[in-house]
């Protein structure tokens, strides 16, 4: 679902991505074109600069065709946005199913073959969940590999530029091109590890063990069960304070392409924030403000938990979760969703954001796999995905 259609220059540059068309989630800044982040508060915002990823893609010859819909400011996992232009992205395969969010429009455009690939952003599964529900590839690379400059942040150390595509080759090609160094992003500190031959070791939850054993009989499989309630708690402890912080700049007066230099009163700010921000966002800002004082204390617990988890991983370890289509149809049913299961699924996805590790959702017949591995081993993960596809 496109919010803005863009007619790019007729003579695109020639490069490694020539001939490919793409769509950007509407949180990527595009110079001269509306960038709304799916919110009324930015409904007239025409930026004065370009995001680094858009510059890279343009320079490599890919063609931007539009900006796609999303949950307001990337907050939400179902693809619901009542606040902006009434756009509620449908699931391209099944009208009774949620499309998944927050990068709902980018997933929709790829699933409907509107473009060859699209960029979403993944803070806690915002790319991988819609990819699973739309049956396409959704790849969240390691944190710090791709420049975030010009991407409207939700939580600065969880947000990752992520890619949707129907072809894993296109996805890999785009990913490698996006890893270009950008001196504007000081957090782009990771280096992609070159591909080397290693033996894969699979880790999974006990309930997925039998299924994966059947699927990958030749590999060694270990069981690693997690306390998912903790992951959800940790995710919100990290994300909510920054949701409050990053949204503090939107007063409804600045960034609406009118004369933002005029000094207005507090009353106006309060009014426009109450009118123009959606209810979910407002709730998250308030919660984020309430808990931001504990942020540093919580951080200690979080890193302790992650450390014990990390110990189970070596180079070549791949954690797999299975999402069966039949179950997904029950859980993400538009009319009676099962919220407890949705929360569990969110936790399965957001663990790799907390770790900053690469992860991929892999659509297969009747089920999807969600796989992740240790930081900077993105190429290894893609290699593993390709080997799964051959089987």
């Amino acid at each position: 679902m496109l919010i803005t259609y863009i007619n790019s220059e007729s003579n695109p540059k020639i490069g490694q991505l020539s001939g490919l068309s793409y769509v950007l989630k509407d949180i990527y800044i595009t110079k001269g074109f509306l960038t709304s982040a799916g919110s009324q508060i930015l409904e007239k915002y025409i930026p004065c600069y370009d995001s680094s990823v858009n510059t890279i893609l343009k320079n490599k010859g890919a063609k931007l065709i539009g900006k796609s819909s999303l949950d307001e400011f990337s907050c939400g996992s179902l693809g619901i946005n009542h606040n902006f232009k009434g756009i509620n992205t449908p699931n391209p395969n099944n009208p009774n199913l949620f499309v998944g969010g927050s990068s709902s429009g980018s997933a929709y455009c790829v699933a409907k073959d509107i473009c060859d690939f699209s960029l979403g952003s993944d803070t806690g599964g915002s790319v991988r969940l819609p990819a699973i529900l739309c049956k396409i590839f959704g790849f969240k690379p390691s944190y710090g590999l791709i420049s975030r400059y010009g991407m409207i942040p939700l939580c600065n150390d969880l947000d990752t530029v992520s890619i949707f595509s129907k072809s894993i080759k296109t996805l890999e090609n785009v990913f490698i091109n996006l890893c270009e160094y950008d001196n504007k992003d000081q957090t782009q500190t990771s280096k992609l590890e070159p591909l080397t031959k290693v033996e894969f070791k699979v880790l999974c939850q006990s309930k997925d063990y039998d299924f994966i054993k059947k699927l990958l009989p030749s590999l060694k499989i270990d069981v690693l069960d997690l306390d998912y309630s903790k992951i959800n708690k940790f995710y919100f402890q990290k994300m909510l304070p920054y949701c409050f912080s990053n949204l503090n700049r939107y007063d409804g007066l600045k960034f609406n392409n009118s004369n933002h230099l005029v000094h207005k009163s507090y009353q106006n700010i309060t009014n426009s924030r109450s009118c123009k921000l959606g209810n979910l966002i407002k709730a998250r800002i308030i919660k984020g403000f309430e808990i931001h004082k504990d942020y540093l204390n919580n951080l200690k617990d979080i890193s302790e938990f992650l450390e014990t988890f990390r110990k189970h991983f070596k180079k070549g370890s791949i954690f797999i979760s299975v999402f069966k289509d039949l179950e997904l149809q029950k859980v993400y049913n538009k009319y009676k969703p099962i919220l407890s299961e949705i929360k569990k699924n969110d936790a399965k996805l957001s663990i790799s954001n907390l770790l900053g590790w690469p992860s991929l959702s892999l659509p297969l017949e009747k089920y999807s796999l969600h796989i992740f591995t240790i930081k900077c081993q993105d190429l290894l993960l893609l290699e593993f995905a390709k080997s799964c596809l051959l089987k």
């Binding site: 960038t35 004065c48 912080s245």
Partner: protein, 437 residues
């Protein structure tokens, strides 16, 4: 009853070329909102990039003040909503400040150390935009600042004045800040007297304001006391401080780490820079019977100190001349086109009188700008004599009065500053003699 005063001084690093988190130039005289980019206007999605020069410059000051300098540099967001703050938070230092626990000697008017005070911390932060009338000018947004906090060791507005002057003087010498620019600093002052709660005076922009505000506040505390901690603003026109907010309603700033600026580890290798104060102490120790005012002038410029003062046997007469040159130079040096150390050798001649020196300096300093007006003295006199005021002054001089001479010479030098004092006197006297004959 003695007051306890603590200071928070904010000083702009206006000697840097670029802002703290973007590459926009630092400029004070540009048109509003011309030195801006997506970063300093807080556009969504933009990310800060640290100008590390700010850290190294301020570390020099911290080192000078014997502070412990942090080995890791990180920044935090301080949240509040105000129209001059584009992002809804200011990037500052909260978890780890740049430097802690230093000392500063306070000197009296004779530059002698009277007291040592504690400097609690120094931190780096960005300036918000400037609100002038209806307009927000983002040219100031993102200019690097440092905040220096003293412990409440000061007792009078006089000591406060000394501390601020001293810090500014040190900053000038360490090339952290050009204090000739009026916008270079702001201060918050905390005052309490025994039996009374603390009062905070916010956002004082000049030395005069600081002194009058403290003077007013101490009187007010002595006569009325104060039961609860609160903040007041100084109103210049009324010479009064007015209630701003109490502690209960004090803004609760939320602090969060700035995740877009990862922690930087560094091991600074700094060398102690000698300032005017240390040079003063040296000379004062060697020549205890010299006038401190002369010594203060002698040590003003490091280059002159190195080549004319240090390791030389100083006589009173020699010092007087040099001191005069420097004093005159500073007095006239507002539009300094030449550096003192460049003009100094041509000025230093034996037997020059104060008046001659004055004119010479004026010649040199103004000479460049007025080069084209090289008009001969006789022509100037011919023109000036047409003015009644000048004519009467001249006739008074000719009748033997010496008083109008300054005015006459001033008028002549205004037209051609290259003329020398001797030349003018000679011509005037010759003219005098001629007319008498």
């Amino acid at each position: 009853m003695s007051a306890k005063i603590g200071l928070e001084i904010h000083i702009q690093l206006n000697t840097l070329k670029n802002k703290l988190f973007c590459s926009c130039p630092i400029s004070y005289d540009s048109k509003s909102n011309t030195k801006i980019c997506e970063i300093c206007t807080g556009q969504p999605g933009s990310m800060p990039k640290l100008n590390f020069m700010a850290i190294t410059k301020v570390s020099n000051l911290a080192y000078y003040l014997n502070m412990e300098i942090s080995k890791s540099i990180c920044f935090d967001r301080k949240h509040y909503i105000y129209p001059d703050l584009p992002k809804g938070y200011q990037i500052t230092q909260y978890r780890k400040v740049l430097a802690k626990n230093g000392k500063l000697d306070i000197r009296d008017q004779y530059k002698l150390i009277k007291k040592v005070i504690d400097i609690t911390q120094i931190k780096i932060q960005q300036d918000p935009a400037k609100i002038s009338g209806n307009l927000i000018d983002y040219n100031r947004s993102g200019i690097p600042l440092f905040e220096l906090v003293t412990s409440p060791d000061l007792n009078s507005e006089y000591q406060v004045k000394c501390v601020i002057k001293q810090i500014l003087s040190i900053c000038q010498e360490l090339e952290i800040c050009n204090t000739n620019l009026s916008t270079s600093f702001r201060a918050d002052v905390n005052i309490s007297i025994p039996g009374s709660e603390r009062v905070e005076l916010k956002n004082l922009g000049s030395l005069n304001d600081i002194i009058s505000a403290i003077r007013y506040q101490i009187k007010r505390l002595e006569s009325q006391g104060n039961k609860s901690i609160h903040t007041r603003n100084y109103i210049k026109g009324l010479n009064k401080t007015l209630f701003s907010r109490s502690k209960e309603t004090k803004l609760e700033y939320g602090f969060l780490p700035e995740l877009d600026l990862p922690e930087i580890k560094w091991n600074p290798k700094l060398t102690k820079i000698e300032t005017r104060f240390e040079r003063f102490d040296k000379i004062n120790k060697l020549y205890p019977n010299f006038n401190v005012k002369y010594i203060w002038n002698l040590v003003y410029n490091k280059n002159i100190y190195d080549s004319y003062i240090q390791n030389k046997k100083l006589t009173k007469n020699y010092c007087q001349i040099i001191s005069k040159i420097i004093k005159q130079y500073n007095y006239r040096g507002i539009k300094k086109s030449q550096k003192l150390q460049e003009v100094f050798p041509s000025l230093y001649k034996k037997g020059l009188t104060t008046k001659e020196l004055e004119f010479q300096i004026r010649n040199i300093l103004d000479g460049k700008e007025l080069k084209s007006k090289n008009i001969s003295l006789s022509k100037i006199l011919k023109d000036l004599i047409l003015e009644p005021k000048f004519k009467s002054a001249l006739s008074k001089y000719k009748s033997g009065q010496n008083k109008p001479l300054n005015y006459i010479i001033g008028q002549i030098l205004n037209i051609n500053p290259k003329l020398t004092y001797k030349e003018i006197i000679k011509t005037l006297n010759a003219d005098n003699n001629n007319s008498e004959i």
